[in-house]
Amino acid sequence: MAVITYLEAISQALRDEMRRDENVILLGEDIAVFGGAFKVTVGFLDEFGEDRVIDTPISESGFTGAACGAAVEGLRPVVEFQFADFIACAFDQIVNYAAKNYYRWGIPMPVVFRGPAGGGFRGGPYHSQNPEAWFTHVPGLKVVQPSTPYDAKGLLIAAIRDNNPVIYFEHKHLYRRIKEDVPDEDYVVPIGVADVKREGTDLTVVTYGAMVHKSLAVAERLSREGAECEVVDLRSLSPLDRDTFLASVRKTSRALVVHEAQLTGGFGGEVAAIIAQEAFDVLDAPVTRVAALDIPSPFAASLEDAMLPTEEKIYTAAKNVLEY
């Protein structure tokens, strides 16, 4: 056990898996010589060599397709998009090749796509996006998004060992801000299993990624005011662990869905729709969503702060649901 950051947890998972299985290779821009834009893979080139740590040209579609092909042949490539935003350039290969391959042919494709996602540090329209909902609508993909170092490590190991394409969105804002004790040895956080990050009886907050921390902070504040929130961290969006959050809502009778991506068409709609349909009989208040405003991510601090979901917005929404 050692206290490590969210970023170190990701590095550790990659390094351990590469040591364990020589089929694991890495592709991405500036990941080898430079160690990655966020320095996740510093030292990897020296340890694993050029064949396994590949600095690619700026060709997201090209190296994604290449990773998919190599995966079919039994390698286990982990692709780093420098920023999750650029996954848009590889969109076709992911949704049309990776996602559909197994259904079509029954041949496994163990590939992982890492996308540093999320805003809050003035990255502007092209370095702040949360693109998970583009992929949660694509059958055949697994989509995960850890919120803690423990989950970051365990989910990445699970993703690498999974025989399907897994998109792994890591939140840039958490990289160096979130630390915790994490086992040194390898372990798996199973894909498709949500985690109750805080227990409570009055309101279920269903969330994931960076918003887990904001939601937990709000839960503490509400607790001081006498209301106990249960915070469910989805961790996996696809496959989705409906049982965990539905069980929670059955207990609390109230639900708030929170994510950092824009509201409209976001994954929160799916979660809210499921709750509204499946837990209709127990709901004491409308399922409510808190998310970013429906605009591109603006650069200026004043604007970005206005755009993103804040603790204040989550708190207000939670109060409304609690007091409905």
Partner: protein, 344 residues
């Protein structure tokens, strides 16, 4: 528009109306390739009929006129080399042992492996049995990056294997063509791109697709060797493809071969080819790869006409039997529709 094409349809240096080989090839071997091509042709003709009869729904896409290319190329491969075809590679599959009855069953949406009704008969992937790789058959050129990826795996594992990516002329326009080949060239991966330049991408002529005359003119951008050859001559195909395959297998990196050929039928059978001039059709009819090959066989090839005819008849019968078998197969059960979304 395309009717105002110049009357020179093919560089005279490539043009030929009869073929010959200087390899020593057994009669049996010659017959195998002929049978393969003929079987593909017979299959295609039958598919057209089934489409007209409404037995195949959606659309069918035929390879008539292009059979020499994949036959010639695949004839050079080792068993552990991979290839992938776009829409016009039936003969290549047959040479690897794929059975016509299974092709027919797939076109008819029957519950046969590996697709179990999930994919059009047009597409096929089965690595274990046939070394035909699964790739993304939807968006054009998407298979060049994955081809590079398979080749990357070969290289990393130090295996002397090659990947052949068959590609249409139209499929050389998308960015994936560039990105994939670029990656393969940087890493000197054993990827051979075989361009079947059949004069059209759907209805679009070469001039509207690219600012160069030949796809091979683009090879300098990747710093790789390339050749242009006549694709309806199976012997020429073998000669040129061999250089490419040897080069790639030896670890020198990718190679691009462009075969000039012609798509005798429409893009699909729904396409009346109104955009193709009579001259152009006629020109290529005289250069039909099966006709050229049959003439060679019953001449220098040492088979007599009856023997050739026997193969032709046998192929037609094989296809009829294949359809009968296919039609007797069950449709995929609706209950299976959600099976096999994720690998265990």
């Amino acid at each position: 528009m395309s009717k105002s094409k110049p009357t020179i349809f093919l560089d005279p240096a490539l043009d030929r109306t009869s073929i010959a080989t200087d390899e020593t090839i057994s009669r049996d071997q010659l017959a195998v390739w002929y049978r393969t091509m003929r079987l593909a042709r017979a299959c295609d003709q039958k598919l057209a009929a089934l489409y007209r009869q409404g037995k195949i729904v959606g659309a069918v896409y035929l390879a008539i006129g292009q059979e020499a290319i994949c036959t010639g190329v695949v004839s050079l491969l080792n068993r552990d080399d991979y290839f992938s075809t776009v829409a016009r590679g039936l003969a290549g599959w047959f040479l690897r042992g794929v059975e016509p009855k299974h092709v027919m069953a797939r076109w008819l949406g029957r519950d046969v492996p590996p697709a179990h009704g999930r994919e059009l008969g047009l597409f096929f992937a089965d690595i274990q049995q046939y070394g035909i790789a699964p790739y993304h058959n939807g968006s054009m050129a998407s298979w060049i990056p994955s081809g590079a990826g398979f080749a990357l795996a070969f290289k990393i594992r130090k295996q002397p294997r090659v990947y052949i990516a068959f590609t249409g002329d139209g499929a050389t326009s998308p960015g994936d063509f560039y990105e994939g080949l670029n990656f393969a060239a940087i890493h000197k991966l054993p990827l051979v791109v075989v361009v079947e330049n059949n004069c059209f991408a759907y209805s679009t002529t070469i001039e509207k697709q690219m600012p160069v005359e030949n796809v091979a003119d683009r090879a300098p951008a990747f710093n790789i060797p390339s050749e242009i050859a006549f694709g309806n001559d199976i012997f020429e195909v073998r000669r040129v493809a061999k250089r490419a395959i040897d080069y790639a297998r030896a670890g020198n990196g990718p190679y691009l071969v462009e075969f000039k050929t012609f798509r005798v039928r429409g893009h699909g059978e729904h396409d009346d080819m109104g955009y193709v001039s009579a001259d152009l059709r006629e020109f290529w009819e005289k250069r039909d790869p099966l006709r050229l090959y049959a003439e060679y066989l019953s001449g220098a090839g040492g088979l007599d006409e009856a023997e050739v005819k026997a193969i032709d008849d046998e192929c037609v019968q094989t296809v009829e039997d294949a359809v009968a078998w296919a039609e007797a197969q069950p449709e995929a059960s609706p209950d299976s529709v959600t099976d096999r979304l994720f690998a265990p």
